[in-house]
Symmetry: C2
Amino acid sequence: MKDVAARAGVGLKTVSRVVNGEPGVTPDTERRVREAITALGFRRNDSARILRKGRTASIGLVLEDLADPFYGPLSRAVEEVARAHGALLINGSSAEDPAREQELVLALCARRVDGLVIIPAGEDHRYLEPELAAGVATVFVDRPAARIEADAVLSDCFGGSRAAVAHLIAHGHRRIGFIGDRPGIHTAAERLRGYRTAMAEAGLPVDPSWISLGPTDPDRVGAAARSMLDGPGPITALFAGNNRVTVTAVRVLAGRTLPVALVGFDDFELADLLSPAVTVVAQDAARLGRTAAEMLFRRLDGAAGEPRRVELPTRLIARGSGEIPPADRG
Amino acid sequence: MKDVAARAGVGLKTVSRVVNGEPGVTPDTERRVREAITALGFRRNDSARILRKGRTASIGLVLEDLADPFYGPLSRAVEEVARAHGALLINGSSAEDPAREQELVLALCARRVDGLVIIPAGEDHRYLEPELAAGVATVFVDRPAARIEADAVLSDCFGGSRAAVAHLIAHGHRRIGFIGDRPGIHTAAERLRGYRTAMAEAGLPVDPSWISLGPTDPDRVGAAARSMLDGPGPITALFAGNNRVTVTAVRVLAGRTLPVALVGFDDFELADLLSPAVTVVAQDAARLGRTAAEMLFRRLDGAAGEPRRVELPTRLIARGSGEIPPADRG
DNA sequence: CTGAAAGCGCTTACAG
DNA sequence: CTGAAAGCGCTTACAG
């Protein structure tokens, strides 16, 4: 910028004015400055600008896995809101590793993002306290913060799961299995609670062998499903705790002779084209992201007050697999 | 930092040393500094650091749509490589809009990202010339740069498409349709060229009504497919130019009485569970991302030389839909 | 082992 | 309409 000023024969401030499109520069001066800019290949350095101005016009997004189709629409929605507010998105995946989440969050804070949208992997977010005290706006999505108070936007996992299981019960099932994610994950725990509540409300006993929580890789989920189907008190219906579980369950059930009812948490593309088409409890990932980002920018615009928790509804979409009656095992 | 130094009764440089874990500080001094840091809630400001050091340890990723499942594994792969090199990822979607691509790229440059990975939407990248001259490393992925020379990592769209269409021809088809993305998009043009080449190599004529290029939204693609199927010289097989086209094609074909063969470009989840299971030409999105990011960091580490273009192979996966023989229309 | 000075590239507040 | 000076929060190069 100094070189540009020298070449154009003007002061630093005048170059700054031209670069930022501020008023108060004669057309002639402006032309000279612009010439110098292209001649010298000048490019403004935003780091310096940020250092002076305070705000960085960027927000951080920490999610679990960029490659998980559930987070695609969510990220995209956060990005659109950020863009509408003139902010850039900096993001990264925690890979469900609390240490990596913390590392990423603190790196974003050191870059002085104006705010953070976090899909947490950790179970203790007190490391964020100094940042929150320093004024970094933060909204948690999909799962709440642990051990600190913070804004959060969640899906109604409990209600959705209760409805899913009640749906299976209404179609005559009494032995219903549940395969979910690791119980330390808030959404997994809530979905389990919904399952238990629906069973209890119908006065149905739950055999411990009908419940399996853990990593959602195909091997574990497949083994869990097969053992529930082939055990002594075999299930006639399965409630799958998320999209990955559902996909694996579909594969397992496709190889079976006796029909087994299935309801999955999370909708997914082509669910309606499988046979049977898959009944799901859908949550709106894009709306989750949009709501969280809007809450963040409201905070950045000065909205004060206690941390808020917003819960978005889910929707049961009956397509066929959830309406299969219990198989008669003769 | 000044306040921390004052409170700990040391010089600025000593605080800097403690914060950065540099050697040459007595344990006692270090303890005093750390106490002052927590007492004052000090958090290092990386903008200032970046301003001094030059490198930002961050790279930018510009893609077409964060929500498109094809880009999930690609982004994730870029992120993993960045992480291995201690760099953060800043990213955004161009939404297939050249103006938005340019805006995003220049914003990233102003933040002084060390390098860029770009899935281009534009057809003229000369706006990047000043940045390239200033030393911003740049690698294009999935599609090449236009009107400038730059590193690029691509899939072999031409070869994959030729193989797909040859596969249909080998199963007896002579009237084969192609539905692809807008012809300005390099990958779409290459896939069309592969289609034409395979048809020509088999000595088969191509009726203009068998080719439809344009936006890949379900309405347009569905209409195009129906008109090819119901027109005067109806096709007996369809080659779908990308994952979105394939999904729509599956929906259209599912409602038909006469079987129609289908091969899709891009693999997708559950393709094997549909009936018939969908034959595809698979490209490796994660490898595309990884290769590009590695090339970028090699440049950042000083690799000189002419821009390189790497082409990754595709793989035909026969699952059923592509092996259906031509329907006998009596 | 420790610190004072200069400077990274901008903007802010002020004066002409 | 224009510019000189000070400062954002750090690091670099040097000296003690």
